[in-house]
C-alpha cells in the first residue's frame, strides 16, 4: 500500500493540472496547469525507477546492493529542460497577447475567430 502512494499522488496531481487547464479562464493560470501536469509526469518517472534502499547508480567503488534506475532519472532531467522551454515560450506568448489585447482572460482572446 505504502509503495502505491506516489502513484496515487501522480494521478491526483495530473487531475489537478487538467482541471486547472479546463476550468480556469486566465492564460497564466492555464500555463500553470500545464506545469503541474509536467510535475506529475516527472514524479511518475522518478517513482518508476525508485528501489527500496537503492543506492545511486555509480559503479566506481560500488559498495554493493540494489541501485535505482538511472534511465528514468535521465528522462526526468530531459523533461524538466523541455518543460522549462515550453513554459518560457508559452509565457512569452502570454506577454505578447497582454501587450496587444490588454488582457489574458480567454474570453477576450477571440480576435482570430471574427
Amino acid at each position: 500500500m505504502i509503495e502505491e502512494i506516489p502513484y496515487l499522488a501522480v494521478v491526483l496531481i495530473a487531475g489537478i493540472g487538467i482541471a486547472t487547464i479546463l476550468l480556469k479562464k486566465n492564460l497564466i493560470k492555464m500555463i500553470m496547469g500545464l506545469a503541474i501536469i509536467e510535475g506529475a509526469a516527472n514524479l511518475f518517472l522518478v517513482t518508476l525507477g525508485y528501489r527500496e534502499g537503492g543506492i545511486a547508480p555509480i559503479f566506481t567503488n560500488n559498495p554493493g546492493g540494489e541501485m535505482v534506475l538511472p534511465t528514468v532519472q535521465a528522462m526526468t532531467l530531459t523533461n524538466i529542460v523541455i518543460g522549462f522551454a515550453t513554459s518560457a515560450l508559452l509565457l512569452a506568448f502570454a506577454i505578447m497577447i497582454y501587450r496587444r489585447y490588454g488582457s489574458v482572460e480567454t474570453k477576450n482572446i477571440r480576435r482570430l475567430r471574427e
Partner: protein, 518 residues
C-alpha cells in the same frame, strides 16, 4: 556503413544554429547558406531513401563502433544505444518531408524577403525539419518524445512569428498548448511501458510485449495524444486557428509535422503492439475518428470566408482519408484472407494519400500565401479577378484543387480510388461517405476558385503582378510532382508505397532488424 541517417539530423541542426552567425555577415550570405543547407539535407534524405529501398531496413546506432551493432555483447541481449530504425515506411515519410522542405524553403526566400527577423525564421525552420526527420526515423520511444517537443516548440514559435496584431500569437499559443499536453500524455504512456518492459526501444518492447491492462492505458494515451497533434476530430479545434494565422510556407511544414504524428500512430499500432492488442476494436476507433474528421472537416469548411481557414478545415477532412485507409488495414490485420483481399490495398491507399495530401495541401497553402503576398487579404469576399494578372498561380491552383477533389488525372484521384475500392469491400457505407466528402470538397474549391481568380479585374488589384520567381519555383515543384504522381501512380505505388505498407504489416521483420533473427 553509411552515415546518412546521422547527417539527416546533423545538417539541419548545424544549419539552424549557424543561421544567426551567417545573418551577421549579410542577408545574401544567409539566404545562400539556407539554400545550401536545404539542398544538403534533401540530398542526404534522398540518398538515405535510395539506400533503404535498395538494401532494406537500415539500423543506425548512435555512438557505436559499428553502427549496425544494435545489441552490444555485454548488454545481455538488450539494445541500449539510441537507435534509428529506418524501414520503407520511415523512408517514405522522409521523402515526403524532404520534398516539402525544399518547396517551403525556396518559397520563403522571397515570401519573407521584406520581413524582419529572418535569421530566427530560418533557424526555427531548420529546427522544425530536424524534429520531423527525427520523429519519422527514430526507433526509440523517449527519443521520439524529444523530437516531438523540438518539432512542437519550433512549430509554435514559427506559427506566431509574424505577430499580426496578436492573432498569430493566438494561433501559436493554441498549437504550443495542445502539443505540450499531447507530449506530456505521450511521456506518461512511455513511462508506463518502461515500467513494464524496462526498455524504451520500440523493437525490444515489441519482442517481449505482453498486453496487460496498463499497456491498454498506454496505447489509449498514445493514440489520443498523437491524434491531438495530427489534428483529427475531436481535437481539431486548433488546426483552423494555427494554420490560418501562421505564415503560409510554415503552414505547409506544419502539415508535414502533423503527418509525422500520424505516422507515429501507425508505427505504434502496427509495429509496437500489433496483434497483441485487440486490433479490430482499435482499428474501428481509428476508422470512426477518420469518418468524423472527413465529414466534420468538410462541412465546417463550406461556410468559411477566409481562404486559409477554409483550407485548414479541408486538411482536417483529408486526414480522415488516411485514418480510414490505415484503420481498415489495422482492423483486418489478424485475418490474412481479408488482408490480402483488400486490407493491403486500403493501407497502400492511406499511405499514398499521405504524400499526395502533403503535396497538394502544401501547394494550396503556398498559393494562398502568394495571393496574400500580393493582395494583402485572405477574405474571399474581397478578392476577385486575379486570373488576369496571376496566371501561373491560377494554373497551380487549378492543379491543386482538382487533386484535392480527387479528379483524374491528378494524384488525389489515384490514392482516393485505392481507398474507395478497398474500403467498399470492407464496409460500403464508409466508401459512400468518403465519396460524398470528396464531392463537397470539389464544391468548396469551385467556390474558392471562382471568388479569387474569376470575374472582372478589380480596381484595387490593378497593380497586382505575378509573384517572384523563387515562389513560383517552390510552387511549380509541387505542381509537377502532383501531375507526375497522378500520371504514373502504378510506378509510385510499386516503388515507394507498397514497400511502406508491407513494412508496417511486417512486425516481426521490424523486430528482427534490431534484435537480430528471432
Amino acid at each position: 556503413m553509411s552515415h546518412y541517417a546521422a547527417l539527416l539530423l546533423a545538417i539541419p541542426l548545424l544549419a539552424a544554429f549557424a543561421m544567426p552567425l551567417f545573418g551577421l555577415i549579410g542577408r545574401r550570405v544567409r539566404n545562400t547558406w539556407a539554400i545550401i543547407a536545404m539542398l544538403a539535407t534533401v540530398a542526404a534524405a534522398l540518398i538515405l531513401v535510395w539506400e533503404v529501398l535498395t538494401q532494406g531496413t537500415i539500423v543506425y546506432a548512435f555512438g557505436a563502433v559499428d553502427q549496425a551493432l544494435t545489441i552490444p555483447f555485454d548488454s545481455g541481449g538488450v539494445p541500449i544505444r539510441i537507435l534509428f530504425v529506418i524501414d520503407a515506411m520511415s523512408a517514405f515519410m522522409i521523402l515526403t518531408a524532404a520534398i516539402m522542405m525544399s518547396a517551403a524553403t525556396l518559397y520563403s526566400i522571397s515570401s519573407e524577403s521584406e520581413q524582419t527577423g529572418q535569421d530566427g525564421y530560418y533557424a526555427l525552420l531548420f529546427l522544425l525539419m530536424a524534429g520531423i526527420f527525427g520523429m519519422v526515423s527514430t526507433g526509440d520511444l523517449f527519443n521520439f518524445f524529444v523530437f516531438l517537443e523540438i518539432n512542437s516548440l519550433a512549430g509554435a514559435a514559427l506559427a506566431a512569428y509574424r505577430i499580426k496584431g496578436g492573432v498569430a500569437v493566438e494561433g501559436g499559443l493554441k498549437y504550443a498548448f495542445i502539443s505540450t499536453v499531447a507530449g506530456l500524455f505521450f511521456l506518461i504512456a512511455v513511462g508506463m511501458l518502461y515500467g513494464q518492459y524496462n526498455s524504451l526501444n520500440i523493437a525490444y518492447i515489441a519482442s517481449v510485449i505482453d498486453f496487460t491492462g496498463l499497456s491498454l492505458v498506454a496505447v489509449v494515451l498514445m493514440i489520443v495524444s498523437l491524434a491531438m497533434k495530427s489534428g483529427s476530430v475531436p481535437m481539431h479545434f486548433w488546426t483552423p486557428d494555427t494554420y490560418s494565422s501562421a505564415p503560409s510556407s510554415i503552414t505547409s511544414l506544419l502539415i508535414v509535422s502533423s503527418m509525422a504524428s500520424l505516422y507515429a500512430i501507425f508505427r505504434i499500432a502496427f509495429s509496437l503492439f500489433g496483434l497483441t492488442m485487440n486490433v479490430v476494436t482499435v482499428g474501428w476507433v481509428i476508422i470512426i475518428l477518420g469518418i468524423l474528421s472527413m465529414f466534420i472537416g468538410v462541412s465546417m469548411a463550406l461556410p468559411q470566408k477566409d481562404v486559409k481557414r477554409l483550407m485548414a478545415y479541408h486538411s482536417v477532412s483529408q486526414i480522415g482519408y488516411m485514418l480510414v485507409g490505415l484503420g481498415v488495414g489495422l482492423a483486418v490485420l489478424g485475418d490474412s484472407q481479408m488482408m490480402s483481399q483488400f486490407g493491403v490495398v486500403a493501407m497502400e491507399g492511406g499511405i499514398f494519400h499521405i504524400i499526395n495530401y502533403a503535396l497538394y495541401k502544401g501547394l494550396l497553402f503556398l498559393i494562398a500565401g502568394a495571393v496574400i503576398y500580393r493582395c494583402g487579404t485572405a477574405n474571399l469576399n474581397d478578392l476577385g479577378g486575379l486570373g488576369h494578372s496571376m496566371k501561373w498561380t491560377m494554373g497551380f491552383f487549378i492543379i491543386a484543387a482538382l487533386a484535392i477533389a480527387g479528379i483524374p488525372p491528378f494524384n488525389g484521384f489515384a490514392s482516393k480510388l485505392m481507398i474507395y475500392e478497398s474500403v467498399f469491400i470492407f464496409n460500403p457505407f464508409i466508401a459512400v461517405i468518403a465519396m460524398v466528402v470528396s464531392i463537397m470538397t470539389l464544391a468548396s474549391f469551385v467556390k474558392v476558385f471562382h471568388s479569387i481568380f474569376m470575374g472582372p479585374k478589380l480596381p484595387q488589384y490593378e497593380a497586382v503582378k505575378e509573384v517572384p520567381m523563387p515562389m513560383l519555383i517552390g510552387m511549380g515543384l509541387l505542381a509537377v510532382l502532383i501531375i507526375l504522381f497522378g500520371l504514373f501512380p502504378d510506378l509510385v505505388v510499386k516503388t515507394l508505397v507498397e514497400p511502406a505498407a508491407l513494412a508496417l504489416i511486417d512486425r516481426s521483420g521490424y523486430i528482427a532488424s534490431v534484435m537480430g533473427g528471432i
